[in-house]
Amino acid sequence: MVFIFFLLVNAGFAFAFFSIRKKRLLPIEIFLYWCLSAIFVQNYSAIQTMNFKSSINPNEPGPEFAHLLNRTVLYPVLGMLFLNSYCALKSGRMKLVCILSFAALTTGIEWLSSVLGVFVHVWLKLWWSAAFWLIHNLLLVGIMKMFRRKLYAGGTN
């Protein structure tokens, strides 16, 4: 049941991103940032569940496959939605609001996955998750800026 729920959530956000007609990201950028986001999320999840034991992923197929789906599709696609929105904004203040809003949204989804028994927080504090998603978003923005500088400036930087 929980797997079906997260399957629909994943499909919904993926559809929301891929149905944007005028994307602000090139296909190669989507590929790169998706991979980067998946690396960040999987390392975060692996360290929390396997080393610190601050969270657990219950040993049942539903939550385990839901978590696999979330860490490879849902969180990266939220990262892409965030970068797409970030690129569409002009003012620095709105960009800041965008960074904070998406960090809050992703923290909310992680909290939901904890409540529904997928990535259950044992002693992981919610503000640690919020801090992680904020750093995740800032890293994506920093890497996007570096990559674009290289992409559009002829590789001289």
Partner: protein, 167 residues
Amino acid sequence: MNFIFDKNEWFVVVASIVLMSYIVMIRKHFRPATLIILWVYNIAFIATIDYAIAATPFHVYDCLDNETYEPMAAYAHAFVYTPYSIIFLYYYDKWGIRGKKLIWYLAAWTCYALCFEWISLKFGFLTYRTWRLYYSIPTYPIAALILICAYRFIEKSLAGHPFRSGE
């Protein structure tokens, strides 16, 4: 975390030094951007597969000393498995591997990868729970074909952009 530096860690370090030295020699074959994107893609792909198979949801083997996520596993993702993929693509390009030749090329690399996996087992880098060496036979060619598709996509996407080659 129970991190001990013993023979399996030395195995990873020695393998990475050999492979990275090879990458330094062949790196100019690729655009710098291609190399970076391929590197990121490979780490993401390997981390995803490794996490899924070694941890949740499949739990079929352990990587290194125990079931925790050790720093050396992340190091191996970046500096052992990824260089293999780059070397695979280097000869794929250099020898113009297409059509029937691709089947032989994939077969040869699968044999090589199986040998490396067997050596990894001997050094305790991998410890099987329910996985068997022959399960890996179909996985290597599939992973290699996905890698070729990713490489073609990267090259096609970057073709119109003014990266300096050989930088």
